[in-house]
């Protein structure tokens, strides 16, 4: 038995990814659940408008982070700010009572605000009046499904070629690397697009989720996000020797995205350090775009930053993945050329 235990420890020590999962994952879960798993939002971005804006803003609970006070502003301006996610709560003061407009697409922020209604204020929830979960979760789930197909399924598909020795076979066939890369990824891209359509339609029909924004903008977000996740999948495949390794790595990239993207726990409630990790994750920005288009229909300019960041991620991740994948297909380099560059006598 001792021999078996020693052998197992030796193998375990050499399996760096399994060690990463065994040691890194508990640390990651501790950080996530310790700093991120909070539903109560302590800082609610608020605008106060109307004739009594100054007085009302001074009497608000400390949870309200007043970002703007405008005595000349009106309800219309507040609604626009809410729609464009510039603030989460807008208080429209009048000569008598005030109205507190709450962004219902930010479920936990809205609930926190409704627990702290200022005196003589009438609350009104916009975009998701009943604070239903489905309208908030369905856009995020679309992202999660795309993420799953993009990273897990794509990486497995590419790694399978390597495991079976067919990647090398493809490299010597009369195919250009671009033929192999596009031919390999295009089917996953199309299936993911189909899935996106199916999940969106199912969300609309089965859960009565509203869609008030632009299909074009939503489609654009989906398209760019797909490039990121497919790139992630291919990148994982280029550093994995087996399907088991690819799955391990995919789990390591999926878990933080599920926990820190704002899909479940609101970003606003997370500790600053953990929240910044969330801002580096592509699912965070897809969810912002998708929730916006489903529930609020913001101005395009309001989604320009999420779309630009997602595009930047797509360019970097997809670019690196393609470069590495091309390296897998290209002939291997030795050192001999450093002494005398290869000059073929003829042909290919």
């Amino acid at each position: 038995m001792k021999a078996m235990i020693v052998k197992e420890f030796r193998q375990m020590r050499r399996d760096k990814r399994a060690m990463g999962l065994m040691i890194g994952l508990p640390v990651m879960l501790l950080v996530i659940f310790g700093y991120a798993a909070r539903f109560d939002v302590g800082q609610i971005q608020t605008v106060v408008v109307g004739p009594n804006a100054v007085q009302v803003s001074q009497s608000l609970d400390s949870a309200y982070d007043v970002v703007e006070v405008d005595e000349t502003g009106d309800r219309q301006a507040v609604e626009r700010m809410l729609r464009n996610s510039e603030v989460e709560v807008g208080i429209v003061t009048g000569t008598g009572s005030s109205t507190m407009l709450v962004d219902g697409s930010e479920l936990f922020v809205a609930q926190s605000a409704l627990r702290r209604i200022p005196p003589a204020t009438q609350p009104e929830v916009l975009f998701n009046p009943n604070l239903d979960t489905a309208p908030v979760m369905v856009p995020a789930l679309i992202g999660l499904i795309l993420l799953f197909i993009g990273t897990v399924v794509t990486s497995l598909g590419v790694v399978r070629e390597r495991e079976q020795g067919t990647l090398e076979q493809l490299a010597v066939m009369p195919l250009r690397p671009v033929d192999v890369i596009v031919g390999k990824i295009a089917p996953y891209f199309l299936v993911a697009l189909f899935d996106m359509a199916v999940v969106t339609i199912a969300g609309l029909l089965l859960f009565n989720v509203p869609f008030v924004g632009s299909w074009l903008v939503f489609g654009l977000f989906g398209l760019v996000f797909l490039f990121v996740v497919l790139g992630l999948g291919v990148a994982i495949s280029t550093v994995s020797k087996s399907q088991g390794e690819a799955v391990q790595l995919a789990i390591m990239t999926l878990l933080p995205q599920i926990m820190l993207s704002g899909m479940i726990f609101p970003l606003e409630s997370m500790a600053a350090g953990v929240r910044w990790i969330g801002y580096l994750l592509p699912l965070t920005w897809f969810i912002k775009g998708a929730r916006g288009e489903f529930l609020k229909g913001p101005d395009f300019s309001a989604l320009a930053l999420p779309l630009a960041l997602l595009t930047l991620m797509a360019a970097v991740v997809f670019g690196v993945a393609m470069y590495r994948f091309r390296g897998d297909l290209a002939p291997k380099r030795g050192d001999a050329a450093q002494e005398a560059p290869f000059t073929p006598a003829a042909s290919s």
Binding site: G165, Q169, V172, M173, P331, G334, D335, T343
Partner: protein, 267 residues
């Protein structure tokens, strides 16, 4: 048209995988590349198919679409049927009216009855034969085979060799790495590699003749470090000249002796 690699050297980091290897590849001739593990057989083949580009020396080879290749493992797409594998190769070569030839190749390889079976469900020998059929479908000028018969039963080896011989008979040059010296003995040309160096090159007879000293067939070895089993008896190498009791050396004897000498010279 003949092909060649001249004074070829390849290094992986500080390790020399091939040193000054020259091979002239003639159409219609089967060239056997023999040698032990780490001899450089696979590296030489990978240069031939364009998988290793950085090297010193001259390379004169057909274009990639005129080369058929069966790697030491794989070479088939397991999730495709036998027919779909052939169709994929035909499509990558943009072949027209390829089906009769594909049928003929599968028939000759003895796997025609498995056309609709997934390649992953074929036996090891059937997979190798499918890989061989795929490699020759487009009438390559150069067929490169990396230990395609290793681990196969004698009948499968024979069927695969029939396919290879037929391909050579139609004018293709064949370069085949193998650890089976009986196969190498049937080749037109043999290249013996050891530790990246070319110990011998020529017809099997010429390589055998290049062996210095003599072989004696004995019941027991005189010196175990220069003797090896041959059935129930021993082949003992003697560096001195021949006499009447000497055994006619085989290609295997020559390969062993040349490698022993190379090891001794290398320390």
């Amino acid at each position: 048209m003949s092909w060649s690699v001249e004074d070829l050297s390849v290094a992986y980091g500080r390790t020399a995988a091939l040193e000054s290897v020259t091979v002239h590849i003639e159409p219609g001739v089967v060239h056997s590349v023999i040698g032990g593990d780490g001899a450089g057989k696979t590296t030489l083949l990978r240069v031939l198919v364009g998988l290793v580009l950085d090297h010193r020396g001259g390379v004169h080879l057909p274009s990639q679409d005129r080369i058929g290749y069966v790697p030491s493992r794989g070479g088939i797409f397991r999730d495709l049927t036998v027919d779909e594998n052939m169709a994929f190769v035909a499509a990558t070569h943009r072949l027209k009216s390829w089906r009769p030839r594909a049928s003929d190749l599968l028939e000759r390889s003895g796997i025609a009855s498995f056309r609709n079976r997934l390649a992953g469900q074929l036996s090891g020998g059937q997979r190798r034969k499918l890989a061989g059929s795929m490699a020759v479908l487009a009438h390559p000028d150069l067929l490169v085979l990396d230990e395609v018969t290793t681990g196969l039963d004698p009948v499968s080896r024979m069927e695969l060799w029939r396919l290879i011989a037929t391909t050579a008979a139609t004018g293709a040059a064949v370069v085949s790495a193998t650890t089976y010296l009986d196969e190498a003995d049937r080749a037109g040309q043999v290249e013996l590699l050891y530790d990246g160096r070319q110990l011998a090159s020529g017809s099997p007879g010429a390589v055998t003749a290049a062996m210095p000293g003599t072989i004696r067939d004995q019941a027991a070895p005189d010196d175990p470090s220069t003797a090896w089993r041959q059935g129930h008896r021993w082949h003992q190498w003697h560096p001195e000249s021949a006499d009447a009791t000497d055994h006619q050396p085989t290609l295997e004897d020559a390969a062993i002796v040349l490698e022993l000498l190379a090891r001794k010279a290398g320390g």
